[in-house]
């Protein structure tokens, strides 16, 4: 039997924030101590103080895994770009937690992914499931670069080999929207530029669903020239010019408005002409325009020559979230299992303050999950599973994870 609970704090004092969040998490779980705690805090917090506050409540025994985040979500609270902190605690007589870490991610994304997959495959948790967080910020050279999630995923794919991926999801994390240096916790160790992972063995099962919030809004177009993460040409014309042509000359948007707004989707399903299926798509966000070359600077470098892309339209209607989560919960119940903890990875760009939306998609997730303990974070990128079973990195997406155990 497994017990879990989550707690939230937005106190500016990092020690108090960790203390409060951990205290509330234990109280919500009805526990006096736990086996595992997941920690989240924004970059405004001092990581050492935050974990000291958590330890003061939980003691020295529980294992800890955590990361900076742009924001934190729990069942009753959510917030970003402030002093948010969150803790999830878990205690179980059956479920066992395995934690993984691969440091020095910068420039070694593929190798780190491969090593992480090998470590998981060789652990007791084996092929159970995996939730991982990788540091998206790379300031190793002194200037801002992004660690490449696609390379990390490719490395993990290689690492898992023929057995393939377990049920998995992940997040590219950062502590704020200013791209300051981010950190991760692995037990009491504070890291930067690392990938950390959690696998729950002992009968726990991970169920995930992708909540894209985007739909194709153009015909297919083909990337005809790309350089790294910059799409230079689409349909043999300057990429930015193509997008401007689709949006229209009187759109009121300049190139400076494309960053974090223009999203291109790739249909990775089998049938390019079938009905729209969200789980077939991966979306890539444009983060700026290379004015000189009229290129679109994308978050990831995976839109290479030959990629067929569509301009994606973001949905302001979140009602699909409730329906999808109810379907997932029904599926879990049909398997004779009980959900004991949920973890939501939400794109930071979807947060109301950044998207211009009145509503927060996280609210819909909170409502749909009801009393199932929920911890979540606002991330820079989201990693989930396509309908084909392949793992892919997304943008402008929410990935919901629910762990379950067999009903007693």
């Amino acid at each position: 039997m497994t017990s879990a609970g989550t707690g939230f704090s937005h106190r500016p004092d990092s020690y108090q924030a960790g203390h409060d969040a951990a205290t509330r998490a234990l109280a919500a779980a009805g526990l006096s101590t736990c086996d595992l705690a997941l920690l989240l805090a924004t970059s405004r917090h001092d990581l050492h103080q935050f974990v000291a506050g958590v330890r003061a409540v939980l003691g020295a025994a529980p294992r800890l895994l955590g990361t900076y985040a742009v924001g934190v979500i729990t069942n009753a609270a959510m917030g970003y770009d402030g002093y948010q902190g969150g803790v999830a605690v878990l205690a179980s007589s059956t479920v066992r937690a395995e934690l993984f870490v691969q440091p020095d991610l910068a420039g070694r994304e593929f190798a780190c992914g491969q090593a992480l997959a090998a470590a998981l495959a060789g652990s007791e948790a084996g092929d159970a499931n995996l939730l991982f967080f990788y540091d998206i910020i790379n300031r190793a050279s002194g200037r801002l670069q992004m660690n490449q999630g696609t390379a990390l995923v490719a490395g993990m794919t290689a690492g898992f080999g023929p057995t393939g991926w377990p049920t998995a999801s992940g997040a590219g994390i950062m502590g704020d929207m200013q791209f300051r240096l981010a950190h991760q916790w692995f037990d009491d160790e504070v890291l930067a530029g690392a990938v950390v992972g959690l696998a729950l063995g002992g009968g726990a099962r991970l169920h995930t669903t992708t909540l894209h919030g985007c739909q194709p809004s153009s015909a297919y177009h083909t990337v005809t020239k790309a350089e790294g993460s910059v799409i230079l040409e689409i349909d043999h014309r300057p990429a930015a010019e193509v997008v401007a042509g689709i949006i229209g000359p009187d759109s009121g948007m300049g190139f400076e408005d494309y960053g974090w707004f223009i999203t291109l989707g790739v249909n990775r399903g089998g049938d390019q002409w079938g009905d729209y299926q969200a789980e077939n798509y991966t979306n890539r966000m444009c983060v700026g325009v290379d004015r000189k070359r009229q290129g679109l600077v994308m978050v990831e470098p995976d839109l290479v020559e030959g990629s067929r892309v569509q301009l994606m339209r973001r949905s302001f209607d979140f009602t699909y979230i409730h329906a999808e989560i109810q379907r997932l919960l029904a599926d879990i119940a049909a398997q004779g299992r009980r959900p004991f903890l949920a973890f939501y990875i939400d794109c930071a760009g979807r947060a109301g303050a950044y998207s211009g939306n009145d509503e927060e998609d996280a609210h819909e997730v909170q409502k749909a999950l009801g009393t199932i303990p929920l911890l979540g974070l606002y991330a820079g990128s989201e990693i989930g599973q396509l309908s084909t079973g392949a793992i892919a990195q997304f943008n402008w997406t929410g990935v919901l994870n629910i762990w379950s155990e067999p009903l007693a």
Partner: protein, 496 residues
Amino acid sequence: MIALSTPSDATTPPAVAVAPDANPAELHRAVAYYQQRVDELGGANVKADSIISSIKSDLRVKNEGFDLLAELQESIDAQMPVEEVIDRTLEAINLRLRMDRSVFLAHVGTGTSFVPRFGLGFDSVTVNRFSGLVFEFGEALPNKDSYLLVNKGTEVTPLIADLQTRLGVPFFIALPVVIGREQAGVLLAGRYKEVKPFAPPVSQSGVSIMRAIAGFISVSWANANQFAILERMVQERTAELQAEKQRVERANVDLEVERHKSESLLLNILPEETATELKETGAATPRYYEQASVLFTDFKGFTQISATMTAQEVIDELGQCFNAFDDVVERYGLEKIKTIGDSYMCAGGLPVPNGHHAPFAVAAALEMQARMLAWQAGKKAANQPFWEVRIGLHTGPVIAGVIGTKKFAYDIWGDTVNTASRMESNSEGGRVNISAATLARVAPYFECVARGAIVAKGKGEVEMFFVERLRPEFAADADGLVANEVFFARAGSIRQ
């Protein structure tokens, strides 16, 4: 060829289709056509989303501004010092508007110089440098509607560069805080980077909110000034009232002192009960006392000795003796009636009747003699002339009270008074002479010697007794002239 199909019946929707027999060129044109339309429609949607998103972002910022102002409105009251108002405002700006640093620059001097006065979000190094920072705004913020909005593309003036460098805020909004017509300060808030990625770090919406906040500070400041004026007036008035109260209190104290003096004086003249009756009713009714002991003293040889002294020396010596008698009278609870020349008259058992008046009066007489012996010893040692005192007492009924309305005095009348006077005149220097009536009441306490019947003026023969001393068990001294505690306890318990 593209053909518009004709509905076969009313239930069949119209549809656009490509004819099955269209050639590849036509099909390519059709695809291009649809692709173009899809892009246009999709682009229009994305464009609409962009506009909606922009409007909503703007609204969100404004809502946050309203929330901030509402928060300030709730948390700040008119009595709050302006320093605290600004502190709270800066905190709200940093937290609510997600600014990294905010500062209030106060106007100094008569020109357009401003110095940092309050700051939030600054490191200690910068704060320590505040006292040395002066920013010359010149005409940068000429009126209350002016502002500086500094983003990446903003032309950097020397002032902007100065603010950026010395305050460590690359992007900021700065606008004036105006009170009346005076520019009291500059409110500046800024960020290191944009909050929303790729958006301007500070925006026009931010200016609107900051302007409202600056207005709020202005009003709060004006209120604080008004309140300070009001408070100063209240303090001044309070001080006046306090001074008036102290003056009245001092007057009351003076009055009380005077009243006390009057009272003391009155009590020197009248017994307390009589004085009280006189104060309360305006008159003191003479009262009959069935038993009282009256004591007279007179100095033997006073006339002859005083003839050798100056008047002042006589008064001084007489004063010493009478002061000693006053002490003794008070110690034995007697009532001093009056002095007539060198004669001293007192009585026991009035104005409040008691049962111990006779032994107490006789004991007082002996102690008066003891005091006189001490006084005489001093005189003898100084080889100066001295006199002796004759004392006589009688016990019987008297009438006591105040007669007249001016220069009134408490007095006693009756034959007992005359007899007591005769006891004194028939006494001897250094002796206490008492009547048989007195002896009957004091015999257990004193050793007395019968003198036999002696002719007294106007009384014929009267039995008289000299009081030798207190019986030893009632004496505090070897001579038996000063009563001890046993005497007071025993004789004091005598009931009427």
